[in-house]
């Protein structure tokens, strides 16, 4: 009798503990599934396909409207709008402009010289430039502390934008951007949460890019929406700077940080 009771008790204990453990395991499994980064192959492949079609462009014009957050002294995020326009002829011609109501700047590269011109103050600076657009962008960043607008358009598909740094990637779904149907993807890497909208069809170029600085407690965001015109032909004068009347030549400073590091 005693033996039976004890057996019964221990069986009851067994029965009651086993499901309890199973529940624990399920809960833990569920939690880790929710927090583990999902890295969908189709999202990575879509990014790579888009990057290839970007790199395949020889001549293009792209305009972009961008909204960029900046934190003010009172801790409020203020949104600033900019219009950026690029005219590009590979491998060594590039024109860019950025207009935002507070600044009106242009950038000229004709394969030999690089000129930065600010219309509002009417100053320009010209320096000798390297042989290709890629080298120019490197030099501007390293030597002069200038990160060109829409830099990713020139970096995707190069070794400067390796996909193995992407920790999370997933397809969100179709989305209308302007009048186009684009596919929306979400990515995460380091402190950057970003989303990309890619055009459908045989030329899958980016429709829109949104970046959240997740390493900043204020989480400032920038959003860029692109309009593409590919295969355009440009006049050589598009890329050659000629100083407007009363424009003044000034120095382009080397970035002090580049020297210090």
């Amino acid at each position: 009798m005693l033996v039976r009771t004890m057996l019964g008790l221990s069986i009851a204990a067994l029965i009651s503990t086993v499901p309890a453990h199973a529940d624990d395991a399920r809960v833990q499994g569920g939690e880790s599934q929710a927090t583990a980064p999902v890295r969908e192959t189709r999202a990575i492949e879509a990014l790579q396909r888009m990057s290839r079609s970007l790199r395949a462009l020889d001549r293009f014009e792209v305009t972009a409207h961008s909204d960029v957050d900046r934190l003010d002294d009172a801790g409020q995020l203020i949104k600033f709008s900019n219009d950026v326009s690029y005219k590009v002829e590979k491998p060594n011609r590039l024109y860019a402009s950025i207009v935002n109501g507070r600044a009106d700047r242009q950038m000229y590269y004709d394969g030999q010289n690089f000129t930065l011109y600010g219309k509002k103050l009417n100053y320009y600076a010209t320096v000798k430039a390297p042989a290709t657009i890629g080298e120019l962008l490197e030099q501007l960043d390293d030597r002069y502390g200038i990160e060109v607008p829409l830099a990713d358009l020139f970096l995707w598909g190069s070794d400067k934008a390796p996909v193995d740094t992407i920790e999370a990637a997933r397809y969100v779904g179709p989305s209308i951007v302007g009048e186009r149907v684009c596919d929306q993807y979400a990515f995460r890497q380091d402190d950057v949460d970003w989303q990309l909208w890619i055009a459908r069809g045989d030329q899958p170029l980016p429709c829109r890019l949104a970046i959240v600085d997740a390493g900043d407690p204020a989480r400032p965001q920038s959003v860029m929406t692109y309009q593409w015109r590919t295969g355009k032909r440009f006049l050589p004068s598009t890329f050659k700077f000629s100083a407007p009347k009363n424009a003044h030549p000034i120095v382009l400073n080397a970035a002090p940080a580049a020297d210090a590091q």
Binding site: V68, R105, L121, L209, P220, H248, V251, L252, A260
Partner: protein, 158 residues
């Protein structure tokens, strides 16, 4: 009992050490590139240090207080500006009114000090292919730092 306490203290210490660094790494401006971290924060720190030194020099002269204020303003501006494409040509929309008026109120400036704005009534003068701004007896050399213009007080170039 001893061990958990000391490890807690260690954890607190490391948090205290790490958090301010993380906060300094960003300046509240959204990054505009996935693949480039941007250089606004990097430039800001270096320039700010220069300005601190300039203040010390000023103190041994006269005109002390006003110049110190001006330099501080530059410091503030530089913190927000690194010369990005999205910055302004001629003014900073988020700068406080006090900062702007103080900058305009400069009457004499120290060689090597940097400002974002010029006093009124300056004349551009070209010397050796480069433009200077002569403002009374003070000469400024405008230069691009990144894509924004700053003015460095220089000795008369001629």
């Amino acid at each position: 009992m001893k061990r958990p306490l000391s490890s807690l203290a260690l954890a607190l210490l490391s948090v205290a050490l790490i958090v301010p660094q993380a906060a300094q790494a960003r300046d509240g401006q959204a990054r505009t590139s996935v693949n480039r971290a941007g250089n606004h924060a990097r430039n800001a720190n270096v320039n700010a240090n220069h300005n601190v030194n300039a203040n010390r020099n000023v103190n041994s002269n006269r005109n002390v207080n006003r110049n110190v204020n001006v330099n501080r303003d530059v410091h503030v501006d530089v913190d927000h500006h690194g010369g990005g494409w999205y910055d302004d040509d001629d003014y900073h929309p988020l700068a406080t009114a006090a900062a702007v008026t103080a900058t305009v109120a400069v009457t004499s400036a120290v060689i090597g000090s940097i400002t974002r704005t010029l006093p009124p009534s300056c004349v551009p003068v070209g010397v050796g292919g480069v433009t200077y701004q002569q403002c009374g007896s003070t000469w400024y050399q405008p230069q691009y730092a990144g894509t924004t213009v700053q003015y460095v007080v220089v000795n008369p170039p001629r």
